[in-house]
Amino acid sequence: MIATLERAERVQRSGANAIVASLERVNKNYGNVRALLEVDFQVRAGEVVALLGPNGAGKTTAVKLLLGLMQPNSGRARVFGGDPTNPENRMRTGAMLQVGRVPETLQVGEHIDLFSSYYTKPMAAGEVLAVAGLEKLRDRKFGDLSGGQRQRVLFALAICGDPDLIFLDEPTAGLDVEARRMLWDEIRRMVGRGKTVLLTTHYLQEADALADRVAVINQGEIIAEGTPAEIKMKTAGKRIRCITSLRVNAIRQIRGVTEVKEDREAVEIHGVEAEAIVRELLARDTNLTGLEITSAGLEEAFLALTANAAREGDFKREELA
C-alpha cells in the first residue's frame, strides 16, 4: 500500500502520464550469470525511452521480461498495470526483437497479413506498408530482402496491430547509416501517432536522436537516467586535450576528472567542470601546451559513465579482497 502511494505521488509530482510498463526491483540470472540486478525502471504513456548500454548489459533481458517471454528471479514486470503475459496486454503491445531467421519463403505482405490478423483493430495493410516504407516490397519474399528491408518488415510486424506500446530491441543493429536513418524516420512517425516506445540500443546517437529519456544500463544495473541532455550534463561534460609533463595518475587525482587517456604525445581528460580542471592543470604544470577544450558528445558521456561504474565495481572488489 505504501509503495503504491509513493508511486502515485511520484506520478502526480512529475505531472507525467500513467506508467504503462515497469520493472520493479527485478533480478534476473542465467545460471551463475547475472543479467539484471535490482532494476527499477518505468515507461510512461507517450514517452520514448531508450535503454542504452553495451552488448551484454541486460537490455534484451529487460525487454523480454516486459514482454512476458521470461520470468524474473525476483521482483516483477508489469505492463498496463498487469502481467505482461495477459492476452489483453499482448493485444496492446507490439515487439521488434532480434531474430536469427524469419521464414524466408513468405512474402512481406503475407507476413503482415498474418500478424495483423492476431489483433482486433489492426492498421490497414496499406498503411502499415506505407509507414514502414515497404510499399514496393509487398510481393517480395523475405529471403530476398536486404538487411535494412528485413528490419523494416520486423518493424512493420511490431506496429501492424496499432498497439499502444511498442518495444524495439536494437532496431538498427547492423544497419548502414542510410538504412538506420530511414528506420529512425519510421519510428518517429509512430511516435507522432502518440505511441509509447521503449527502444534498446548501443548506438548513443540513436538514443539522442529518438528518445525523450535515456536510461543507461551496464552489467545489469541502471547507472544513470535522464533526458539525453541531462545524461551529458551528469557525466564528463567536457573533453580536455593537452600536452603536459604531468603523470596520468596525478591528473586522475584532480577533482572533477572522470577519465584520463594517453593519446600519442598528449593526454585526453574527461571532466565535469572544465574550468576548474584546467586551472589546476596550469597551476601544476606551467609548461603545459596545446590546450584544447571540447564539449563531449553522448558517446564520451556514455563511455565515462560505464567506465566509472566498472571502476567503482573494481574498487569494491578490491576492498572485499
Binding site: 500500500m1 500513467a18 521470461m70 496492446r92 507490439g94 500478424f115 492476431y118 520486423l154
Partner: protein
C-alpha cells in the same frame, strides 16, 4: 486498491470466436505456403516416397505379388506410411527447432497469437502434405501400376494414413523442443530412416530378418503400416485395435514430452 488509475481501456480487445477461427485458418494457410515454397522440404518429403514407389513398385516388381496383394498395391500402403512419417516429422520438428533456436518463435509468442494456433498449423500442414503424397501414390498406381481398389477401400486407406500423420506430428513437436536448429534435420533422419527400414516400409515386413521383425513391434511406423496394409488385405495377425492403441499411446507420450519442452522454454533465453 491501487490509487493510480492507469488508462486501461480494455474494451474491444476480446476476440470473437469467428475471429479466433480465422487466425487458425490463416496460420495454417501460411504454414502450408511456407513449406510448399521451401524446396528442401518439398524435394525430400514429397519426392522420396514417390521416387521409391515408381522405382520399386512400378518399374522393377510390378508383376509380382506379396501374398495375395500385388506389389504396386502393397507399396502404396508402405511408401504411403513412409511419406506420411517424413512429411509429419520434417513438417513439425525442423520448423519448430529452427523457430525456437533462432528467435522467430519469440516474436510470435510476444504477439497476441493464440499459442495453440502455431502448433495446430504445423500439424494441419503435415496432414495436408501427407494427403498429397498418398494421392500421388494412388494416381501413379492406378494409371501406371494397374492398381484396382474399391472406392471405399481407397477412402479408408487415405483416412488411415492421414490420421497416421498425428503420432508423427506429435513426435516431431517433441523432437523440435529437444533439438537445435542445426541438429534437427540430422536427428530426424537418424530416427526416421532406421525406423522406416525396421518397420518394413522399404523391404516388405515378411522378408525382414526375425530379429528386426521383433524390434518392429515397438515401432509406431510398423503399426501404422500394418493398419494401412490391413485395408489392402496384406496385414499381419495383430488386431487393428492393438495397432491403434500403440499409436495413441505413442502420441500421448510425445505430446507429454513436447509439453515439458514448451514449459521449459519459458525460463530460457530462447523459445
Amino acid at each position: 486498491m491501487s490509487t493510480i488509475t492507469i488508462a486501461l481501456d480494455n474494451t474491444q480487445i476480446q476476440r470473437t470466436p469467428s475471429h479466433t477461427a480465422s487466425i487458425y485458418l490463416k496460420e495454417a494457410k501460411y504454414e502450408f505456403l511456407k513449406n510448399l515454397r521451401l524446396r528442401v522440404y518439398t524435394a525430400s518429403v514429397l519426392s522420396f516416397p514417390i521416387m521409391f514407389y515408381v522405382l520399386f513398385g512400378l518399374v522393377l516388381n510390378s508383376k509380382q505379388a506379396i501374398g495375395s496383394t500385388g506389389v504396386a498395391t502393397y507399396l502404396i500402403a508402405t511408401y504411403g506410411t513412409f511419406g506420411v512419417m517424413g512429411a509429419s516429422l520434417f513438417g513439425t520438428a525442423a520448423g519448430l527447432a529452427s523457430d525456437r533456436g533462432l528467435g522467430w518463435l519469440q516474436v510470435k509468442r510476444a504477439s497476441p497469437m493464440p499459442p495453440f494456433a502455431y502448433f495446430a498449423a504445423k500439424v494441419v500442414t503435415s496432414m495436408i502434405f501427407s494427403a498429397i503424397i498418398v494421392l500421388a501414390l494412388f494416381t501413379l498406381g492406378i494409371t501406371l501400376g494397374g492398381v484396382k481398389m474399391p472406392v471405399a477401400d481407397f477412402a479408408r486407406l487415405m483416412a488411415t494414413l492421414v490420421a497416421g500423420s498425428l503420432p508423427f506430428s506429435a513426435m516431431g513437436l517433441a523432437l523440435g523442443y529437444f533439438t537445435g536448429p542445426n541438429s534437427a534435420p540430422a536427428t530426424i533422419n537418424l530416427i526416421y530412416l532406421p525406423m522406416s527400414f525396421c518397420s518394413g516400409l522399404w523391404v516388405p515386413f515378411i522378408f525382414l530378418p526375425k530379429m528386426v521383425r521383433q524390434i518392429a513391434l515397438v515401432l509406431p511406423p510398423y503399426h501404422l503400416s500394418q493398419l494401412a496394409l490391413g485395408v489392402v488385405g496384406a496385414g499381419t495377425h495383430e488386431s487393428n485395435v492393438t495397432h491403434w492403441e500403440v499409436l495413441l499411446g505413442f502420441t500421448m507420450i510425445c505430446l507429454g514430452a513436447a509439453r515439458i519442452g514448451f514449459q521449459r522454454d519459458q525460463g530460457k533465453l530462447y523459445g
